[in-house]
């Protein structure tokens, strides 16, 4: 059935080498990555620290060029950032001199496709979607970390991307806010019917938010395993204590641990 429809995101045999000017050595970061995302799918990437997850996501966004293979979104080859993809950065990186609404319309302003009134209207509906009604004219420094990340997500959704790329969007939040934001993000993505590729260090977050989880090996990153998440589409934070959830968590953790042990990051037990 998957073969019937072309994938939203099609990554074929992608490899990437990073050349270090100082040591004059090429460093293999990605090795033969093959991954397809169908429309509406939410996929997370987990893997040991420094394995190349962020590099991969940057490559999908077109910020870094791949050295082998190809990446296609809706059949179009990715060679630079484009309006079909939007990136949610780890640090909220909101422009401090723009209000909430004007941060959200930023991408639209650059594209210049919409009239000002239309941009405003879309921004306001996104403010609603991410639950920030009443904060339209606030500046980022007047918002909490969680609120800023909501704006960050709204800014990415504003350009109506075919696929949303999220690089550890909650890494800078405190543990409680992070839990709530996971739940919020799940609702936002469902309402926006988004296709999303998500990077995280937190395994429970990955399980909670995705349909599938891609486990990267230690560098150079290869796909070690792809784990399907067999949980109901609508999830609650309480589900994190279900036996099925916990079992999945320890299964993925073992995969990452193997990689960490293999590269000597931790001592093998």
């Amino acid at each position: 059935m998957a073969a019937a429809r072309p994938p939203k995101l099609d990554v074929r045999h992608v490899s990437l080498e990073h050349y270090n000017e100082r040591t004059q050595q090429a460093l293999a970061v990605l090795d033969d990555i093959d991954l397809q995302l169908q429309e509406g799918e939410l996929v997370s990437i987990v893997g040991p620290s420094g394995c190349g997850k962020t590099t991969f996501l940057n490559a999908v966004d077109g910020l870094i060029a791949v050295t082998g293979g190809e990446i296609r979104v809706d059949g179009r080859l990715v060679d630079r950032p484009g309006p079909d993809r939007a990136f949610v950065f780890q640090h909220d990186s909101l422009f401090p001199w723009r209000t909430v609404v004007r941060n959200i319309t930023y991408g639209l302003e650059l594209q210049g496709r919409l009239a000002k009134a239309e941009m405003q209207e879309r921004a306001r509906s996104l403010v609603d979607l991410v639950g920030l009604k009443g904060f339209e004219e606030h500046y980022p420094h007047e918002l909490s970390g969680g609120m800023r990340q909501r704006v960050n997500i709204a800014r990415a959704l504003a350009v109506s991307p075919e696929i949303l790329l999220l690089d550890e969007p909650f890494a800078a939040l405190d543990a409680q806010t992070r839990e709530f934001m996971q739940f919020e993000l799940m609702k936002i993505l469902a309402r926006a019917k988004a296709t999303a590729l998500f990077i995280t260090h937190q395994i429970s977050e990955a399980i909670f938010l995705s349909n599938r989880i891609v486990v990267f090996s230690a560098r150079p990153a290869r796909i070690k395993d792809i784990v399907a998440v067999d949980l109901p589409a609508v999830r609650t934070l309480a589900m994190k204590h279900d036996p099925g959830f916990v079992a999945l968590e320890s299964r993925i953790w073992r995969l990452i641990e193997e990689e960490a042990a293999r590269t000597g990051m931790i001592a093998a037990a």
Partner: protein
């Protein structure tokens, strides 16, 4: 981002507890300042009237005011004011128009910076007043040389601060803009310019001071009109009252322009923590 000033701190505390004590606290500084200034002026006036000091050297507040009124009344001051103002605004405007775009370009393109940086550093380190004889040789003793010296005084602080402003742009902002497919022009307008505004305004404020020094010294060195010329000529003739009037006018111009820039700064820094205007 660390724009916390103790003044705003004090203000918020005062507005929270409105009382007579807080009224005093809010106004204490300027009241004390005004009183000490008033006391000084009285002391000066009395010292002259009592014959303790020679008014030929020190003039006196009442004489300065009288002379000032007389110069405005007979209209002799206007040509000097107009000359200085023209020199100042032409030179300063040129410095802004050249300095800001060039600063942004030099901050952005490291190769352009490498080419121009030695010149900027050398000229920034040289007291621009030392170039005055050269400037007079090139531009004569009229308006041209004054505009040039004001321009030279103002442009380097503007340039250097704008470069620093662009250099210190948060790399994350650039990444965001690039990810949204920004063109070079959009990158300048939506990231480089707004994020360097605070440094740019600092540059303008520093440049302002240098520009004022520029007109005064320029007009003293070789000129036929202007406030600096007025001060120099009056000084040579021991007309202390007139010298003082000239100094007061220059000082007022400096204060007014600095305040204007402060107001612009506040307008632009609404988005900064603790600086909401």
């Amino acid at each position: 981002m660390d724009a916390t000033s103790p003044a705003t701190d004090k203000e918020t505390r005062a507005t929270r507890r409105p009382s007579r004590r807080s009224w005093w606290r809010r106004n204490e500084n300027w009241i004390l300042g005004s009183l000490s200034m008033l006391a000084f002026l009285c002391f000066w006036e009395i010292a002259v009237r009592a014959g303790a000091v020679n008014p030929l050297f020190t003039s006196s507040p009442s004489r300065i005011v009288t002379t000032g009124f007389a110069m405005f009344a007979d209209g002799s001051i206007y040509e000097h004011l107009q000359a200085s103002a023209t020199e100042f605004f032409t030179g300063f405007a040129l410095a802004v128009v050249v300095g800001v775009p060039l600063g942004i370009l030099m901050g952005w393109y490291s190769r352009l910076n490498a080419v121009l940086e030695p010149f900027v550093s050398a000229l920034y380190a040289t007291p621009r007043i030392a170039l005055l004889p050269l400037v007079v040789i090139w531009f004569g003793i009229g308006l041209g040389s004054k505009v040039a010296i004001v321009f030279l005084g103002a442009i380097f602080p503007i340039l250097v601060n704008t470069i620093t402003g662009v250099r210190t742009i948060d790399a994350d902002f650039i990444k965001v803009a690039r990810s949204f497919g920004s063109t070079d022009r959009q990158m300048f307008l939506t990231v480089a310019l707004p994020s360097s505004v605070p440094m740019l305004l600092t540059g303008l404020r520093l440049g302002l001071g240098h520009a004022l020094v520029g007109i005064v010294v320029g007009e003293m060195y070789g000129a036929t009109q202007g406030l600096g010329y007025l001060i120099a000529v009056a000084g040579a003739r021991f007309q202390t009252d007139k010298v003082m009037v000239g100094i007061l006018l220059i000082a007022s111009l400096g204060i007014a322009l600095t305040e204007l820039l402060r107001a612009i700064e506040r307008r632009f820094e609404r988005w900064r923590p603790n600086q909401r205007g």
